[in-house]
Amino acid sequence: MNESSPILNISIFGVFVLITLFVVIRASRNTKTAADYLAAGRAFTGPQNGIAIAGDYLSAASFLGIAGAIALNGYDGFLYSIGFLVAWLIALLLVAELLRNTGKYTMGDVLSFRMRQRPVRAAAATSTMAVSFFYLLAQMAGAGGLVALLLGITGAGGQALVIAVVGALMIAYVLIGGMKGTTWVQIIKAVLLIAGAGIMTVWVLGKYGFNLSSLLGAAVDAAPKAGEKLLGPGLQYGKTGTSKLDFLSLALALVLGTAGLPHILMRFYTVPTAKEARRSVVWAIWLIGIFYLFTLVLGYGAGALVGPDKINAAPGKANSAAPLLALELGGPILLGLIAAVAFATILAVVAGLTITASASFAHDIYANIIKKGKEEDKDSEVKVARLTAIVIGLVSIGGGIIANGQNIAFLVALAFAVAASANLPTILYSLFWKRFNTSGALWSIYGGLVVTITLIILSPAVSGSPTSMFKNADFALFPLSNPGIVSIPVAFLLGYVGTILSKDKADPTKQAEMEVRSLTGAGAEKATAH
């Protein structure tokens, strides 16, 4: 049965790398200016960018993680995907178009638009880099577990080597291709991922006569321990009052975090107009929604056809559900394809995060704070972005190797919680609240960041329980692993209080300019012509 062939898996992945490298090199030929490097010349169409957004968003966590969570915990796994999807409505209705109209390369452009430039940009860059780093670390460390599963490499040294190779490839993509190359990698990966999941979905449904009810029944039969409970909520989060509250907190962070993720926000600058930004979100919503419907079938399919015992016994536990299902359905070749797609997923997501963090450093900190705007759009801005990408790449390789094997699931929760607490309130206030001012922005960003990180450090995810990062210490003063239910309202409140208490007045002319530009697109950055 276990006929997984590491050589086949590596070869298929190698083909993916060669094809994408070729595309990246071709795409980079026209990359000259900062707008080319950091925003792909703003020349992607809405549908292209929408596919790339889906590629950026559907990380290994959502493909392997959600399918696995459904296979083992049933309905509770499905709950995740709903939060991840509904969140896009905030991006569509409140953020995407207005952001495209007012910014250039980074979230900091929008947040600092009508505020004092240097402090607000510094704050925006800090939270951008914090979110990107947590997210990056989670992906890189996850790569270790995936390697064990797919390539049969179980030694720490071998896994470290693979993490280093993934990191080196990611640096190459970002350095050579910039935003344009990275976008193409996302597009290729998204198409492979969604097509692969789609084929497996039809295959699984076909085995049950295209009857969802029979599939669910088979999943229940294959899981004698969970039984009928697999179909209703509560298996994972329903045990105690605290775990229920924890789930509520997670649900809030998921739905409010997406529209504050800097690597998603940056994608809106790669299209020529706000209308195209809208079209990209619409495409992303449909693709992501359909994909999560696939994972529902894949998760229960893995439960029914592979069975929870076998999934739990595999090296990656829940994460191995989708690959094991591929093996069960289509043998080693399908497994190889799905494994390559999973790898490509990690690679593409880390590349997207790296370019976001390096853009924020180059644009917000170097060009606008250190050089006070004099270096904006000069070659040196691109040079700094490239250098930063190398540094971030090396740091994340190191961090990934150290964090390998740790329980890092909380890092993604942390990234979403920081995005929802430190970023979203400030974005919404700057776009919709006239009085909002510099101190409000600083209070909300730094306050949201500090509260979220402090609560995570004091949570059971870090200490005091058998699944914690530090099992032997106990400083878990805060009972929840997800801080959102506290940190999000606190950050909104801080933004309000900081504004009200400050003697600074909002600049009414700047506010007029921002509001008119955000709604009409007048003076917005145009596509560069090549």
Partner: protein, 116 residues
């Protein structure tokens, strides 16, 4: 005091023009049409999502009630969240294309035409 930090594109309108446009009837109408749609709809879908999460979190019995075959209330509720997301997306695009874009384009033309 005034903005040296920002260099908007080529034909940058001056500060006074932004203030004038902001006070114009067309702009107030555009802002009203946008907010009249996005604020209530955001409230609505967040409430609908929260209702779903609370039911899934605290009403296990209700959500596990079978409706037909192995399909239970929870699954239908979950799938309805997908449906509502797709529906709101479609409605917003229709609203934006019909009611927002023409007015935004008109205003943009007026602003950008002026400086040249």
């Amino acid at each position: 005091m005034s903005s040296v930090d920002h260099t908007p594109s080529e034909s940058a309108p001056d500060a006074q023009q932004w203030v004038d446009v902001q006070a114009s009837d067309d702009f107030i109408e555009l802002k009203h049409r946008l907010r009249k749609f996005v604020f209530p709809v955001t409230g609505l879908f967040l409430a609908w999502y929260l209702l779903y999460v609370l039911l899934a979190d605290y009403a296990h019995g209700f959500m596990s009630t079978k409706v037909f075959g192995n399909i239970n209330v929870g699954l239908i509720f979950g799938l309805l969240q997908f449906v509502s997301t797709f529906v709101i997306t479609t409605l917003y695009v229709r609203h934006a294309n019909k009611n927002l874009d023409p007015l935004a384009e008109k205003l943009r033309g007026e602003i950008e035409g002026d400086g040249k």
